[in-house]
Assembly symmetry: C2
Homo-oligomer: 184 residues x 2
DNA sequence: ACCTGAACACCGTTCAAGT
DNA sequence: ACCTGAACACCGTTCAAGT
């Protein structure tokens, strides 16, 4: 009866897309109401399945949150890499900073989930990998022009400045334009 | 029968200390398990009252969280002011930065609650006031030595740097000593 | 004033069962 | 494999009632 539904719309999750549907639903909940609004039962409801079906794809609510954070780190990494490709060394660092700030501004809730401490990296290997790959992309650009003494400290300072600005933007304490003006 | 208990220990909350007991209990829960571990029912249990008694002092769970964040901002402000009093202008800014980082390191969970976006400043007047008073204390020191063009941007940069370092410390991505080394 | 117990609509998670 | 319904122990919040 629904053997044909693979190709058609509403019931696609019956054939392997439930994971994706749940992540999409959870992302909507996150953006609308923050971490505390993300519940397995509501995500299941939005995906049109029973409250129990999510456990076929996520071991726990935290695993679903970890998947959202993982996707966030991948998207941020992609944005950083694209910004890096579009600029040459003197301005490259600024371009990455701008991409970082735009990410935080465009998806505040995901940014907060990524850095809010609700999901522990250590408990979710995919998340740990995505997060360190993102920092690797950032670090390689931040250190590319320096090697003398103090380089490591300068790199950390640059990272902290951008990260702090991003948090202030995500918290709506300053706006994105003022933050970008600080990138020099 | 318990008319005398005002002066004595366990049942003091029956006479006006319940609010304080609940905050203390909530603080323990926050430090032990993060925001999501703070529940009204568990705080009530720790304080030795029925699950319903907290509503005499807090309109909602969020109001209890707001009280914790408010106390956090007051403690941070006090730490910043003391640091400022103990140092003179050239080093004063660094001293404040150090105090900020030590606060984030010593009470990561509270720092995250204060800046994690779970409680909205706008919904809690006391919190809004405590938070802006804290930023005022910071801002006055950050701008005291400069007035020429670019001063506002430099002040924001200094704030963002310290704030970013503090988040990285709270997230355990760098340790407090490395962060302090970045304050110059 | 401050506290209690029962009640309601939610959660996350587990289990036995259906296709 | 993937999904369902019932069940359990939790929540936040409200209400009627006790002292």
């Amino acid at each position: 009866m629904w053997a044909l539904s693979t190709s058609g719309g509403d019931t696609a999750y019956h054939h392997g897309d439930l994971r994706r549907s749940l992540i999409a639903a959870a992302r909507d909940l996150l953006r609308a109401g923050g971490v505390e609004a993300v519940t397995l039962r509501e995500a299941a409801r939005l995906a049109g399945v029973s409250h129990n079906a999510p456990y076929r794809h996520f071991a726990s609510r935290e695993a679903l949150l970890a998947a959202l954070a993982t996707e966030g780190f991948r998207a941020l990494r992609k944005a950083l890499e694209e910004a890096g490709r579009r600029a040459e060394p003197p301005e490259r660092l600024t371009a990455l900073g701008r991409a970082y700030l735009r990410f935080a501004d465009a998806d505040r809730a995901t940014f907060r989930l990524m850095f809010g401490g609700v999901v522990e990296d250590a408990d979710h290997p995919d998340l740990a990998e995505a997060s360190s790959a993102t920092f690797g992309a950032l670090r390689s650009v931040v250190t590319e022009r320096e090697s003398p003494a103090g380089a490591e400290r300068d790199a950390l300072r640059a990272w902290a400045l951008v990260h702090g600005l991003a948090h202030l933007v995500a918290d709506r304490q300053i706006d994105a334009a003022r933050a970008e003006a600080c990138l020099k």
